[in-house]
């Protein structure tokens, strides 16, 4: 009798232990999952913050150009037009308007390049480099697989901005004399942007600049894997790998 009672008691004890252990381990799993989620949320938050920072920078630049450029030209026109009619000089009025048009053209091109919209990424990238070749002494070597025009258009825009950002970095900091851009397609698309400038040392640089953060954020949105490869005197490379 006693033995039976003991064994029932022991079984109950075991069952209770099992319940406690299960709850505990479930809790642990929930906790680790929570921690993982938290990390993801933090990361997303960081990403959004970076994008907003870049966007705000861009907005203040556009605001400046609209105010100092377009508005200033139009104010001049207004001043010309307010003169007595015999003193109005149509040439200076139309010149000021033409200048205002040129600035607004520039702003609208920066916001969304017409070639990208109408003829795709390949043409738009060529156009971007056509301008660099024309306005600087940097020599350009560019080779792009036709396949890049098959990428969905929202992703094309991200890739375009990433190349544009890399180009800005080269022009601002690198003192480079040549830039190479290649896109190879083989199940996945590999895009490599390489300049031959002075490069940077990731060991001594505390954190990435706004431009590189922007590249990182955009490539996550594609989604693509991005790599920055550089060392002092070794140029700078941005590499994107995109599964298509």
């Amino acid at each position: 009798m006693e033995i039976v009672l003991y064994s029932i008691g022991f079984s109950l004890f075991l069952a209770a232990l099992l319940v406690v252990a299960t709850i505990y381990s479930k809790n642990t799993i929930v906790k680790t999952e929570l921690a993982k989620k938290q990390l993801e949320v933090d990361h997303q938050k960081e990403l959004v913050e970076q994008l907003i920072e870049v966007q705000e920078e861009e907005r203040s630049r556009i605001a400046r150009e609209l105010h100092d450029g377009v508005n200033a030209k139009l104010a001049t026109v207004l001043l010309f037009a307010a003169q007595p009619s015999e003193k109005i000089d149509p040439t200076s009025i139309s010149n000021s308007i033409k200048e205002a048009m040129a600035i607004s053209r520039r702003i609208s091109y920066d916001l969304l390049p017409p070639t990208l919209e109408s003829f795709g990424l390949k043409g738009a990238l060529f156009e971007l480099f056509e301008e660099i070749e024309e306005k600087s002494d940097i020599s350009i070597d560019i080779e792009l697989d036709d396949q890049i025009d098959e990428i969905p258009s929202n992703k094309q825009l991200h890739i375009y901005r990433i190349v544009q950002e890399s180009l800005q970095n080269t022009i601002k900091y690198a003192e480079a004399t040549s830039i190479q851009l290649t896109a190879i397609y083989n199940n996945q698309l590999i895009l490599i942007y390489q300049d031959n400038g002075k490069g940077m040392d990731f060991n001594t640089t505390a954190q990435l600049g706004l431009g590189l953060k922007n590249i990182a954020a955009r490539s996550e949105m594609i989604p693509a894997i991005h790599e920055f490869n550089s060392a002092p005197g070794k140029g700078f490379q941005t590499k994107l790998t995109i599964e298509l």
């Binding site: 033409k98 017409p114 070639t115 109408s118 003829f119 043409g123 480099f129 056509e130 024309e134 350009i140």
Partner: protein, 220 residues
């Protein structure tokens, strides 16, 4: 009395359309037969038209259907209509792509009315009009092969006579002037021009000029 040039103006800005219609109508040779506020209206208008225009003055940025889409459709359904594109985007890649889908000329919106009228008349008599600025853009060596490759020119060799005629076309000569210079009939010139279009797979004379510049047949 020469038949007037029938023109349609497509632009989403009503005041621009009206102003432009009034200005170009002052020229005795130009007759504005219609206006459209976007690409969709323009295409519908052409499909229902009893009288087709010779030339369309076409803005690129329009709601509903933009000028690029409209150009593609119009050149497919009405290949004889010539298109003068209103754009300020003068890059080699863009111009070459636009010619490839069938544009015959480019004008900035801030061109003088006289400039636009000249352009319309040139396009009507010679099939294209590239001003000095466009020629300079096309001359650039950058990405030349890439830009032109999109137009898929094929490599059928041209005869010496065809090259000669192509050069004269590039010099903006009219059919009658070419015929006179080479002591041949205008019909022979037309025949050569058609062969050139076929051989180079160009949609129009503007495409022929791009080909000539790219292959070094015409040096600016």
């Amino acid at each position: 009395m020469i038949d007037p040039i029938k023109l349609i103006i497509a632009d989403d800005e009503e005041l621009f359309r009206k102003g432009m219609a009034q200005l170009v109508s002052e020229h005795p040779q130009i007759n504005v037969i219609g206006e459209a506020a976007n690409g969709e209206i323009l295409v519908k208008m052409l499909r229902a038209a009893e009288e087709l225009p010779d030339i369309i003055l076409l803005d690129l940025k329009m709601p509903e259907m933009d000028g690029v889409q409209a150009t593609k459709i119009i050149k497919k359904e009405f290949p004889d209509i010539r298109i003068v594109v209103l754009t300020s985007h003068y890059t080699k890649i863009f111009i070459v792509n636009m010619v490839h889908i069938g544009a015959s000329a480019f004008q900035r919106k801030d061109t003088s009315p006289a400039g636009i009228i000249d352009c319309i008349i040139e396009v009507h008599s010679k099939g294209y009009h590239f001003d000095h600025e466009i020629m300079k853009v096309l001359q650039k060596s950058f990405a030349s092969g890439e830009a032109i490759r999109k137009t898929k020119f094929n490599d059928t060799p041209l005869s010496d006579r065809e090259k000669e005629i192509l050069r004269l076309i590039c010099e903006q000569k009219k059919t009658s002037e070419i015929a006179e210079e080479l002591f041949i009939s205008t019909r022979t010139v037309d025949g050569h021009r058609n062969n050139l279009l076929l051989k180079t797979e160009s949609k129009n004379v503007a495409g022929l000029v791009l080909y000539a510049i790219d292959k070094g047949i015409y040096l600016i």
